[in-house]
Amino acid sequence: MTYVSFLRAECHLVWRRKQNMVNSVLFFLLVVVLFPLGIDATPMFLSKAASGIIWCAAALAILTSVESLFKEDYHDGSLEQWLVSGLSVPILVLIKMALHWLFIALPLLLLSPVLSEVLYLPDNSFWPLFMSLMLATPSLFLLGGIGSAVTVSLRQGGVLMLLIVLPLYLPIIIFATSVTKAAQVGLPYDAPLAILGAIFFVSLVVSPLMTAISIKASVN
């Protein structure tokens, strides 16, 4: 196995499971729809809440799709093969996460203009929202990957994984929504964006390592 052949196989796999992508997009949309229906559908409330709603929905959609990231690899013995392949497991993990980010998060990003129209997001805060999504959804994947690897050997690991990962998502959601909130009142928003970038780089270093440790511990 080489990194390239691994990437090729993972691409095929993601493509064969494209229904998952559709599912997570639908889930994302449904969560967004819940808010106007459940709380308040007036433009006054929605325009204020839009970025928070989109962000919560995105985080939930990513969490649910990341949960089973390594499940199949665990059950069919692929994780063992990663470990004996002599390749660096953190890099394999990173390749896999990057690929899944492309397939799951990009559609969400592409939907964000439509949703921000539907939720009456003020025009001046769309680009800040988009940038925050761009910068921070990779961190959501990276952190979610740790949770997924930690619970990979459990049959019913879903809730546990949420319990572990959601507290780690809080800062990301806070900074991401404060980007748009600052933009809405005309304040500069580069500081929270920069922090989101910093969180991304930290997770980029920490997450593959931790995920690899958990994978190694789970396989045996």
Partner: protein, 248 residues
């Protein structure tokens, strides 16, 4: 520098023998400190000029909050030590400290909200500190849940270490983010949470309470560690001899 002490500390046998006699005196000392603090703080210290007697809950609330954070820090460090050096004692420590820390976080939350009722008029305020203690409680629960969900010990140890280390890295970010979020929403209306330099008569009993709770945590954690060592090393010869000669 010699690392021998670290390796000795890593051996359950050495640790058990070394610290076997410690919990009881520590516990007595802790009780003494806490009694002094409680009597002094609840009966002798003067009432606050703004909050009257309701401020006295500080003598539980603040030590618990401090302990909750220290315990998490210690737990995260134990996690780092385990992941890097595979020291056998660190998962034992981790397992012993997690429920205690969670309890402290819980106490801090409950007393915080009880305190909030007379001072702020509501049970819960989305105050930066309260929120970050709430998140801390969730982080603790995550570690505990992982430990209990994974049946195989080595796997549970590793993953609990991973979860606590990641939590430790996140803790400053969480605290900072919550403060940021809070100040963006509302100014610091609750300046009461930042107590002005306290008079000695209020501060000293608080100091006693904090020290007492630290001692108590040391005693409880050592006890829990001993139990855990016995559980893990149940099959070893040295433990059999230890139990046969000294009893449990």
């Amino acid at each position: 520098m010699s690392w021998a002490w670290l390796h000795r500390l890593g051996s359950p046998k050495w640790f058990y023998g070394r610290f076997k006699a410690w919990p009881k005196p520590l516990f007595c000392l802790a009780c003494l400190c806490l009694m002094v603090a409680m009597v002094w703080g609840l009966a002798i210290a003067p009432p606050d000029y703004q909050q009257g007697n309701s401020f006295r809950i500080i003598y539980i609330h603040v030590p618990a909050a401090i302990l909750a954070q220290s315990c998490y820090f210690a737990m995260g460090m134990a996690g780092v030590v385990y992941l890097v050096w595979q020291i056998k004692m660190s998962p034992i420590f981790l397992q012993a400290v997690a429920p205690f820390g969670a309890l402290m976080a819980f106490i801090a939350l409950v007393t915080g909200s009880i305190w909030g009722k007379p001072t702020w008029g509501t049970w819960w305020v989305w105050d930066a500190r309260l929120t970050s203690v709430l998140v801390l409680l969730f982080l603790y629960m995550g570690v505990i849940a992982v430990q209990s969900a994974l049946e195989e010990r080595s796997l549970a140890d590793k993953t609990a270490a991973v979860v606590s280390v990641v939590g430790l890295l996140n803790l400053p970010i969480i605290k900072y983010s919550v403060e940021w979020w809070n100040t963006l929403h509302q100014g610091a209306t609750f300046s009461i949470t930042e107590p002005p330099s306290m008079p000695m008569a209020m501060w000293l009993p608080l100091l006693f309470a904090v020290i007492g709770l630290y001692l108590l945590s040391a005693a409880v954690i050592l006890w829990r560690m001993q139990t855990e060592i016995m559980r893990r090393e149940a099959r070893t010869q040295w433990l059999k001899q230890e139990v046969l000669s000294d009893g449990v």
